[in-house]
Symmetry: C2
Subunit: 139 residues, 2 copies
DNA sequence: CATAATGCTTAGAATGATTATAATTTATAT
DNA sequence: ATATAAATTATAATCATTCTAAGCATTATG
């Protein structure tokens, strides 16, 4: 009894209307939105929604492993509903974050591998996105 | 005249005692300290040092390309005097950040490479550092 | 049904990192 | 020496995020 509760602690949670609204917005969303981005959109539909609820929900989902918290933007956290292994490209001109599929094999140098237990990795690519490239060409 | 000034704008700046104290602390430092880490140490030696000066200096150095600002720690910015291309391993247990030399060839998938202008990349490795590994074994 | 227990939402306060402001000090140029 | 510009300082302001305390909703209990 206690053990089952313990095991699912954090991974099971009530599907409240607010949470569903957030989940629905995130479903398939590849824009890597910030908490504020999410609040702006979801609170429009869901009148009484509080900012605190957005943060609570994001933290709950993250702890439950249903959401990935990205540290790529120095200003704020970004959230990614795609929890599969993949990497990101951030456009240094407009700030957009695009997905990069994980095809790339990356390994720690041997001497490092002996000292560390490697759990995972994330590559941040920096560059110019296609829409910014077009804009630049235009002028 | 104007053009030369323009060119060196941001890259040339006065070597004040405060800045030298910060530079000296950073010289060869591989601990990837935060602004507060730096302030704590440097202000001990340099009495009147203000926190604002630390931030100002770090921003100036970063803009001048003499310092790298790391986004790897979600809580605060970290600073790295090593501006050469290299990657980082962050220990998820103790938070320490270690350097990983750039030996690893990483390329964008072809279809992506056509759309983006790639300027650089940074790999964050997650894992357990050797000292945490030892501690864990001990118990 | 009544009531208690639990978990969620809410508004607003608190926190912590970082930036902005305005006055003062230091360095540089005339 | 006087003016000009740049840097430092203390402090206030800002912004993202977390915390708090009160109320609400849902489920369990009798
Ligand atoms: Mn993604
Ligand atoms: Mn480094
Ligand atoms: Zn762009
Ligand atoms: Zn460690």
């Amino acid at each position: 009894m206690k053990q089952i509760q313990k095991k699912n602690e954090g991974t099971r949670f009530k599907r409240t209307p607010q949470r569903l609204a957030i989940l629905e917005y995130l479903e398939g969303n590849t824009s890597h939105p910030s908490a504020e981005d999410i609040f702006r959109v979801v609170s429009k539909r869901y009148q009484s929604m509080s900012f605190a609820t957005v943060y609570n929900t994001l933290n709950t989902l993250t702890r439950a492993g249903e959401l990935r918290e990205l540290t790529i933007d120095p200003e704020r956290k970004r959230y990614d509903p795609d929890t599969s292994r993949h990497h990101h490209l951030i456009c240094v001109l407009c700030g957009k974050i695009a997905d990069i599929p994980e095809k790339i094999g990356v390994e720690l140098p041997k001497d490092m591998a002996e000292h560390f237990v490697l759990l995972g990795h994330h590559i941040e690519f920096y560059g110019h996105c296609s829409s910014c490239r077009k804009k630049n060409k235009a002028k």
